[in-house]
Amino acid sequence: MCYNKIKIEFLSKSQNESFARVAVAAFASQLDPTIDEITDVKTAVSEAVTNAIIHGYESEEEMVTIEAIIEGTQLTVIVSDLGKGIDNLELAMQPLYTSRPDLERSGMGFTVMETFMDSLEVKSDKGRGTSIIMKKIFNPLS
C-alpha cells in the first residue's frame, strides 16, 4: 500500500491561506484526483486554516501546522493550532453559527469541511489549541 507524509508549518498570516491549500493540493495530486476532488480538498483546507488564523490565534506571530498523510487511496489532513481552543464545540459546528459576527463571516466553515471531505473530527482544548482531522478517499481512475 502506498504511504506518504508531509508536515508544513507557517505563520498565522492570512496571506498563507492560499499557500496552505495549494501545498496540500499538490501533495494530494499523486492520488490522481479529479478536478472536483482537488477543489473539495482545497476548500476544506482553506476553511480549517482560516479558522486557526481568525479564531485560534489573535496575532500573526503564531504557527499553524498541517500534516497530510496518504495511505492507499485515502488522504488525511490535520490542521493544528496552539491557540485558545473552542469554547463550545457543538455550537461552533452548527451551520451559520459564527463567534465573530463583527467579521462578516458566514458561519459555514465546519459545514464546508464536513460536506467536502468524507470525515471530520475536531479536537479542542481550551487554552491549548485545536486540531482538525479530515479524511477523504479518492476514487482511483479505472
Binding site: E17, T43, I54, L103, E104, G107
Partner: protein, 111 residues
C-alpha cells in the same frame, strides 16, 4: 484578487477575478463598499466568471453586500457561477435570497 467595475444606468457591475478567500475578502468588501457609497448605487451585480477559487469567506462577502443594500431597498445578484464555486454557494442556501443569472446582460435586464 482583481476587480473591474462597470456601470449600467443605476447598476454597479463588479467583475472579480482570482481567488476569493478570507485574505482577499476584506479588500474586496472595502473596495466594493467604497464604490457603492461614492456613487450611491443600490443595485449591485457581482460577476464570478473569473473567480478560480472561493471558500465560505465569499459567502460572507455576498451576504454582507446583500444586507447593506437590502436596508436601503436595493438589490444584489450574482452572475457566471461556475462549478468551482457553485458547491459552496449551494451549500450556504444563499440562492434562496439572492438571484443568480447566467451572464451580466441577463442580470442587467432583470434587476
Amino acid at each position: 484578487m482583481h476587480l473591474n467595475f462597470e456601470n449600467n444606468e443605476d447598476k454597479l457591475i463588479v467583475y472579480m477575478s482570482g481567488e476569493l478567500d478570507h485574505h482577499s475578502a476584506e479588500e474586496v468588501r472595502n473596495i466594493i463598499d467604497d464604490r457603492l457609497e461614492r456613487d450611491n448605487y443600490n443595485k449591485l451585480i457581482m460577476d464570478f466568471g473569473e473567480v478560480t477559487f472561493m471558500d465560505s469567506s465569499g459567502i460572507g462577502v455576498v451576504i454582507g453586500r446583500y444586507k447593506k443594500l437590502h436596508m436601503r431597498n436595493g438589490k444584489v445578484c450574482v452572475t457566471n457561477i461556475k462549478s468551482s464555486v457553485k458547491r459552496v454557494f449551494e451549500l450556504s442556501g444563499m440562492f434562496k435570497i439572492i438571484m443568480s443569472y447566467d451572464d451580466v446582460n441577463q442580470a442587467v435586464n432583470n434587476i
